[in-house]
């Protein structure tokens, strides 16, 4: 019974690795890649926000540093992205540590505000430092160079399959890192800080140091997801990678799934990505017409058809409000709580039966 989750996990992993061999639809691969990206972003934020309890709403800064550095190295210096990503990650971590050692003196809402302000500073710099970042025009990449190892061309990045595997591996690495954090001494330090900073401090845990460690891990993987996003989409500008909306989305993935758990961000990604894709592809409005809730040719029908595709941010907002009001532990915590209640109910019933 105890090996069941492990077996299940192995089956999912094998299934995911075999997926591109059976599914050729580029759209299906695209959705899966977005899903992996969301998992990486959520798990990365989770290290700082979930385990350590530092609600950063400015992670777009690290996402942007990863995306911009990798893209600029590739476009201007012709550094292949699989080399360029390392200086990008290093830069993000260094920048995060500088920012962290300043802002971690702040607590609660003040920290949230400071993190937003930092990300806005990054955005304004990217927008106005036109010689380096190309300003509001952003950076558009030509094709990626082919990956050649020992004379063999491994992939030329024309199809989506190499991105699929890169995303999958990255997602597994971040999940493994979260697992490692949760099951190590580091994780206990983080959670002690989350539960009660002053108590943790009085037990001899240096607060700023461990918050910075959490931030470094978090920024590292957020920047990595940024680099991956930039290479996959092939275009970045301050409006798509450095806005507060991007930061909010990272938080949402965790909140909706369940904060401070390994499975939470995965569940959050599984809810958010298909939902926003379904909206974008007009699946939701089609469903409304099929169920005959609204006539397709009526004014409301035309309105829905035209606008529902842009409504994913609205749906995000509604989701957050519902989650905060009705399931503050996230979808995963809500399901777990429900299961626990049922089990307790069943156990109580059995005990009563035995007593009588």
């Amino acid at each position: 019974m105890r090996s069941l989750p492990v077996l299940l996990l192995a089956a999912v992993a094998i299934g995911l690795f075999a997926f591109p061999a059976f599914v050729e639809s580029p759209y299906a691969l695209h959705v899966m890649i977005l899903l992996f990206l969301a998992v990486v972003q959520g798990e990365a934020w989770n290290v700082l926000g979930g385990y350590t309890g530092q609600y950063s709403v400015g992670h777009a800064a690290w996402f942007g540093v990863g995306a911009y550095t990798t893209m600029m190295l590739m476009q201007y210096e012709h550094v292949a992205p699989w080399w360029g990503v390392w200086p990008a990650l290093a830069l993000a971590v260094v920048a995060a540590l500088v920012v962290g050692s300043i802002t971690f003196r702040l607590r609660g809402p003040y920290f949230v505000l400071a993190s937003i302000a930092v990300a806005e500073i990054f955005r304004l710099v990217a927008l106005n430092w036109k010689d380096v970042t190309n300003g509001a025009e952003g950076i558009l990449t030509s094709d990626l160079p082919p990956l050649v190892v020992g004379g063999h061309t491994i992939t030329d990045f024309v199809s989506k399959v190499p991105f699929y595997y890169a995303g999958l591996v990255l997602a597994f690495i971040t999940i493994a890192v979260n697992w490692g954090v949760q099951h190590s001494k580091l994780g206990y330090y983080f959670q002690a800080i989350r539960e009660d900073q002053d108590a943790a401090h009085s037990l001899g845990i240096p607060l700023t140091f461990y918050k910075n460690v959490a931030l470094a891990i978090s920024a590292f993987f957020t920047a990595w997801s940024g680099a991956f996003y930039a290479l996959y989409v092939g275009f970045i500008d301050p409006g798509t990678v450095l806005t507060t909306e991007v930061s909010v989305q990272f938080v949402l993935i965790c909140i909706i799934g369940g904060i401070g758990t390994i499975g939470g961000p995965v569940v959050g990604a599984l809810v958010l990505v298909p939902l926003s894709e379904a909206l974008r592809a007009n699946l939701l409005s089609d469903l409304v017409f099929k169920l005959r809730l609204v006539d397709e040719s009526s004014r409301t029908g035309l309105f829905l058809k035209d606008n529902l595709a842009h409504a994913h941010a609205l749906i995000y907002g509604i989701l957050v409000v519902i989650v905060i009001l009705f399931m503050p532990e996230g979808v995963l915590g809500w399901v777990r709580g429900g299961l626990a209640r049922r089990r307790r109910g069943a156990a109580g019933g059995a005990a009563e039966g035995a007593a009588s």
Partner: protein, 288 residues
């Protein structure tokens, strides 16, 4: 010198409107300890309200505040009743996320209904100017500053002199003690959020002749409102007034002497600096 004076004067005038936004935010924070991340979106709703009152009914934006204030007050009371009240005892981060979600809902609903096109409310005096001791001042700014001063004055009187105002201040000072003294703190919460959104809506009405009106305009104002409030001291109304005027002046000076694209950068750097040096703000008590 002329440029300097000019920027300071227009900075102070813009700062008056900023103060109005900040006072609303600080009032909500003071009474309920909730940071309203949807504050800029309330301002945006006020802008749209003003725009449509102007285009459909032909009512001047500065006159339209007599409509905007009650409508936004009721809207705020409704939001408080339906959403905010439920999370008053929740973790601060959950309160923050709830208001972020509320902001997303407001801006995207407006986008769905009115599209994301930029709207311009142009009045006969939008680009007019008045001379003030040798300095020319934008006419809409001048009028809006005057209205701001009147509203702020009225608010001070209300909070200092009336029983309800004293009850609001008592709740802000100590929620439990106020409750023990027979203050209905739930009603004070409704009142505070109603007043806060009425002030944000009024600010929206006042800036509508000089700003582009679009659904995403709110987020910039939300952040600015935080800067103002933190600068003055969270919960302090005089602090928010002062903070608004300082931020307006800093922006205006940065725009004339450095570049208008970078004026917000100065504001955020100043914000971080204040957070680090004196997180309780200029006039706030330390709540760290």
């Amino acid at each position: 010198m002329q440029v300097f004076l000019q920027s300071v004067v227009s900075g102070v005038l813009v700062g008056g409107v900023y103060a109005l936004i900040g006072i609303g935010l600080t009032l909500i924070f003071g009474v309920m300890r909730v940071i309203n991340f949807a504050h800029g979106e309330l301002l945006m709703v006020g802008m749209y309200l003003t725009y449509y009152v102007f285009t459909l009914l032909g009512i001047d934006p500065f006159v339209s505040i007599v409509i905007v204030i009650p409508v936004m007050f009721l809207f705020g009371v409704l939001l408080q009743r339906v959403l905010i009240q439920r999370v008053l005892d929740a973790l601060p981060q959950n309160q923050i996320l709830l208001t972020i979600g509320l902001g997303l809902i407001l801006s995207n609903t407006v986008m769905l209904v009115f599209t994301s096109d930029y709207k311009i409310l142009s009045t006969s005096y939008s680009s007019g100017s008045v001379m003030l001791g040798g300095i020319s001042v934008s006419q809409p700014l001048f009028v809006s500053f005057f209205i701001t001063a009147v509203i702020t004055g009225a608010l001070y009187l209300f909070l200092l002199e009336t029983d309800v105002g004293q009850a609001i201040r008592a709740t802000a000072q100590d929620r439990e003690a106020a409750q023990l003294m027979g203050v209905n703190v739930r009603r004070m919460g409704l009142l505070a959020f109603g007043l806060g959104s009425a002030l944000a809506g009024t600010a929206g009405a006042l800036v509508s002749p000089t700003y582009y009106i679009f659904p995403q305009v709110g987020s910039a104002f939300t952040l600015k409102a935080f800067v103002i409030v933190v600068l003055g001291g969270m919960g302090s109304i005089i602090g928010a007034t002062l903070g608004g005027i300082i931020i307006g002046t800093v922006e205006s000076l940065a725009a004339s002497y450095v570049s208008s694209g970078l004026k917000e950068l100065f504001v955020y750097v100043l914000f971080l600096f204040v957070l680090l040096v004196k997180p309780s703000g200029l006039l706030g008590k330390s709540r760290m």
